[in-house]
Amino acid sequence: MIDAPLLPLFILLTSLLAAPVLFALPERAASLRTGINLGMAMLKVGLVAWLSLKVSEGVVYDLRFAMLPGLEFKLQADPLAILFVALSAVLWLITTVYSVGYLERGPHRARFFGFFTLCVAATVGIAMAGNLFTFLIFYELLTLATYPLVIHRGTAEALRAGRIYLIYTLAGGLVLLLGTLGLWVLAGTTDFVPGGVLDEVAESRPLAAMLLFAVLVGALGVKATLVPFHAWLPIAMVAPAPVSALLHAVAVVKAGAFGIMRVVYEVFGIETAQALGMTMPLAVLAGVTIIYGSIRAITQDDIKKRLAFSTVSQVSYITLGVALASPIAAVGALAHLIHQGLMKITMFMAAGNLAEGLGVKKVSRMDGVGRAMPGTMLAFSLAALAMIGLPPLAGFVSKWYLAQGGLDAGAGWVIALLLGSSLLNAIYFLPMLHRAWFRDAGAAAFAPARPRIGWMLAAPPVTTAVLVLVAGGFANAPFSPLEWTRFIVAIEYRE
């Protein structure tokens, strides 16, 4: 196979260069737009597969140039980056199909797909950023690219949500800028290095290092929806379904969680972070968020808002796994990065189908939808059961590792936390399934008796549901997310 040292750049450019073309396309050039969208998404999946292969063979990719004296723009493709890039590429392909179907006759498609594609570029950039400075650049780009998507409908409500979203995320970004500057001033580098770059600083100026940890994790916690920075997410649910799917499963919240991972593992190093005494408070904060999100989810009648609070809770599993400072928990955290993405995107696309096909947006109106849209609801149910942690589905695998990691780290409370959370998951998901499958729609249920949604809306959630099944059932197969996760943990824990 030919060797291409610029491969990471190409992966970035597939979406970065497509965006201006998509912006410029006239509104009616629908098929050309779809062609470019799908073509680029598939090209990206192919390139990512190639990149993963090369990285697993031990090829090192490292692209850099100086933006300021000593400060580099740096792209790298380490296994952790591959994990996130692969997730993005695959889910993006699926979401693109879904979006094309969802927005078939909607307005402002040129703008939508332009920013949608910029979003991918930003996420891929976040994944492959080789230092915190580069990470920051893409992190802010992600904020800017998602804002027009959140307010896509252009209503007063959407704009209000957008403003809140922008204030939260840009304030978070500003604090991240402060943290990056602090890192640069303290350590003289912002590079991501397994084991961290702050050993000496932590020894000589522990207070400054602790403050830096709080600033960085706090900043990233905005997008990772750590309590009390989570409020924007349920409000941002005003966005169109594909956007919500994307924000929750891959882009925004994951960017935050992924950033926390980078900071804990490769800026501080897990040992330094532990030595500073910062990991346990973070774990506790994650635990609080897990319980809080779940409790809030129970009372939400709006389907998307219920799912949103569920995300607040579920994403913190990742943070929890990182903060427990145990390699086993880390496996759980990384696996959950993938698994939560698959599960949540399934549920959001399904929710979108309910709204599109049946006009159902509330939990209280879900009676009998299972019979009206069996495929969609089957996918939804599978994902919900996985969330609850039913073996052998994907969610079970991550929770299993997290629980073991909790024991390993000597934090027995984690077991209780996970059990409690699973119980709460069941409390807010099972009634939905019950309504969908075991209740009758009643007389004046759904306007179209057999709702027509095109294959482009129907197929994506089913596909991701199958992936949920596969990821759980074949967790130990080579090249499964879990296997790749173990590979990463070995690097981060320098074993």
């Binding site: 509104e27 252009g154 204030i167 640069w184």
Partner: protein, 480 residues
């Protein structure tokens, strides 16, 4: 006849202005070509500076202090290049924006004289000559301010004229004191001078005059109305370029004169902070788009002065670079933003922010340009504005000046708030009665502002070479 490129950067626009004035029918052709030719002269000069570090020409063969020398180093060439590039693109934008024949006829000679004056400032090494140059700039700039001919523009132009004259007179009195004390007027003489009472008075007078001309809070009172009421290309030139001339002289003088003490540096930073806060509040309250953009200029000027003061007196040797980057970034982004605002006003028919979302016409490309320019002005990566803000905060953090970091962060949040008012108006659709055509309102005229805005974003990726270029010839080293 063979002349060095430095002299040409002054004479090309001067002859262009003369030609455009005596041949009014051909002005629209002469104008852009003169700016282009000026740009070529700047490119030649840049090559010389790259090779030699700094270039000096003693005009008339009379060396300073008797004669006047022109000197180009990295910083001056960067300013010249920014002026020429922004000027060229604004010129292209003006070809479309100026529909009135009379406006066209007067825009070009005034703008080319303005260019002559600014280039003279960037190459000048003699403080009296700088006084004459800022007057050339002032008269041409006032002419451009009132080009639209409305009562509001004329009122603003008159206020601007008063402020300009007063600023220049303060500067001239300062020049008098410098001569009184050291008997010469060149930069080299200033550097060699011993501190004294008369010299402090001179410094104070000149700096206050310049602060008035560059509109640092609380001497900004004349700026918003003047910049907001001019026609779009004139606003772009005034906001993007003209205020930078006085700012540039300030930077030079502040480092050449006997070192300002810590209190003075802190005072300047504090005024900058005042500009950031007060300008931000006013931008939040502005009713018209162009007024908001003008207030953002007040904010950005303040930010530049914070960058200057970011690390106190000891840090001045480095801080000027952060200020210079912010100057370049603001020049490019603000010109783009004013042109875009002008395009939006042209297409929609008004620029009342509250009612922009009632329009069925959405000049998409101009709005996109506005958003890109806002990214650089807010200081989001990877724009040049971000690099400037990074340098500012980095220096302040390293020196432990937390207050400047805090002010900058507050200013950033405020700028997000006021720019998002505009972006929200662009993207709201539920108040429109007629069907919205999003791809309406494109024009070739969008090309110039879009190019400017895109460069404001992408130049951030080239910040390292830009920074090493402005250090050529040690603009702030021991010898001029």
């Amino acid at each position: 006849m063979q002349t060095d490129p430095m002299t040409l950067t002054l004479f090309v626009p001067l002859f262009g202005a003369i030609a455009a004035f005596v041949l009014p029918r051909a002005a629209s052709v002469i104008g852009p070509f003169s700016v282009l030719a000026t740009g070529a002269a700047v490119a030649l000069l840049a090559r010389e500076v790259l090779a030699a570090g700094a270039v000096t020409v003693s005009l008339g063969g009379w060396a300073p202090p008797l004669g006047i020398a022109l000197r180009a180093d990295g910083l001056s060439v960067a300013m010249l290049a920014m002026t020429a590039a922004v000027g060229l693109l604004v010129s292209l934008g003006a070809l479309d924006a100026l529909r009135d024949a009379r406006q066209r006829q007067y825009f070009w000679p005034l703008w080319l004289l303005l260019l002559t004056g600014m280039n003279g400032v960037y190459l000048g090494t003699d403080i009296f000559n700088l006084y004459v140059m800022i007057e050339v700039i002032a008269l041409a700039a006032v002419g451009l301010t009132v080009l639209s001919g409305t009562t509001a523009a004329l009122r603003a132009g008159l206020e601007y004229m008063y402020a300009s004259i007063l600023g220049a007179l303060l500067f001239l009195t300062g020049v008098g004191f410098v001569y009184l004390q050291i008997g010469r007027l060149d930069f080299a003489g200033l550097i060699a001078a011993e501190p004294s009472g008369a010299l402090s008075a001179a410094l104070a007078l000149m700096l206050v005059g310049l602060l008035l001309k560059t509109a640092l809070f609380p001497l900004h009172f004349w700026l918003p109305a003047a910049h907001a009421n001019a026609t779009a290309p004139a606003s772009a030139l005034l906001s993007g370029l003209v205020v930078k001339a006085a700012l540039y002289i300030f930077l030079r003088l502040a480092t050449y004169m006997p070192p300002p003490d810590e209190m003075l540096v802190t005072l300047i930073g504090t005024l900058g902070a005042g500009a950031v806060i007060w300008g931000g509040i006013q931008a939040l309250r502005a009713e018209r788009l162009k007024m908001l953009v003008a207030w953002s200029t007040v904010v950005q000027i303040g930010l530049i002065f914070i960058a200057f003061a970011r690390a106190g007196q000891i840090g001045l040797a480095e801080s000027w670079k952060a200020a210079a980057v912010l100057i370049l970034a603001h020049g490019i982004a603000k010109a783009a933003m004013f042109l875009a605002a002008g395009r939006i006003k042209d297409e929609v028919g008004h620029d009342v922010i509250r009612d922009l979302d009632r329009s069925a016409i959405r000049p998409t490309l101009a709005q996109f340009t506005f958003a890109l320019a806002a990214i650089s002005l807010i200081g989001l990566p990877p724009s040049l504005g971000f690099i400037g803000k990074w340098s500012l905060m980095e220096g302040a953090l390293a020196a432990g000046y937390w207050h400047w970091v805090a002010v900058t962060m507050v200013g950033t949040l405020m700028s997000v708030a006021y720019f998002s008012r505009v972006l929200a108006a662009f993207l709201r659709f539920d108040r429109v009665r007629a069907p919205v055509g999003e791809h309406q309102g494109w024009a070739l005229a969008d090309a110039a502002p879009l190019t400017l805005a895109l460069s404001a974003i992408t130049l951030g990726l080239m910040a390292a070479p830009i920074l090493s270029f402005i250090e050529l010839g040690y603009p702030f080293g021991a010898t001029p």
